[in-house]
Symmetry: C2
Subunit: 142 residues, 2 copies
Amino acid sequence: MNTELGDLIDRCRTAGLRRTKALEVLLVTLLENERPITLAGLAESHLLSSQCDKATIYRLLHRLTDAGIVRRLGLHERAAYFTLILPERRCDYLICTECGTISLVDAPCPVHDLQNEIRSKTGYLNLYHELEFFGTCPKCAA
Amino acid sequence: MNTELGDLIDRCRTAGLRRTKALEVLLVTLLENERPITLAGLAESHLLSSQCDKATIYRLLHRLTDAGIVRRLGLHERAAYFTLILPERRCDYLICTECGTISLVDAPCPVHDLQNEIRSKTGYLNLYHELEFFGTCPKCAA
DNA sequence: GTAATTGCAAATACTTTGCCACGTA
DNA sequence: TACGTGGCAAAGTATTTGCAATTAC
């Protein structure tokens, strides 16, 4: 078995989730999608569409988010976006306001120092951030 | 008249909006709220609730967003948040994931350099960013 | 065996639009 | 006068929940 998938399932088990078919298929699909994806997008995806109900995906995403395995993002669309939290995954995005294309920002995140400063000054726990750049991509500008 | 309000109305007029009662009341309410606020929040606010319909506020916010006078934010809630774009206003937020309180981050924004780098490397136009910190506030942690 | 999980369907919540009356330029 | 704007109500879209059947542990 894919090690990444195995690790994820371990994390889920530790968080108290049962190892179900739906969970596995959802994790595989999330691993395949490096970019954040909506609930509707997941539900339409090849593997999931035939395997489980949208409500199941919804509830799994909710549990995975609570467990710190998945992150929920705003991204300005009406629908919420979801992505796995993985150490090697970039977490900043560049989004075209015209066509909605999501790109990954390939640069070290510049807000770590500020984040630490906020943590010590305000006493907030479990601090993390969300950073997105918005603009018109060259294709849409043409 | 309040200069800030006058300036805003000028910007609206330049953008082609008509000077209506609803527009003025909305601008005043947005000026009063330094933190981003939802459409529902605006509609419930003292001035607006008696003066105009929710659909009107919705359409005005849309026009103001197109005109670059208001910014629409994701912020993880189901509802969208809106805030005026003003030079003296902080644009980064610290949000409690438990109680939803929005605080303003009082620090110079650390992503300007990266934003410029992205602009020149990708060719995106009208580039701007959205940065939020999420965590559990001390009150909710207790 | 017990409790978590799932599917289906219904209910919510928030957003968006149509249409005609109205007010601004 | 002409056209953007406003109010009301209805439709649209995404999220969330109830409940009985099922499955993992």
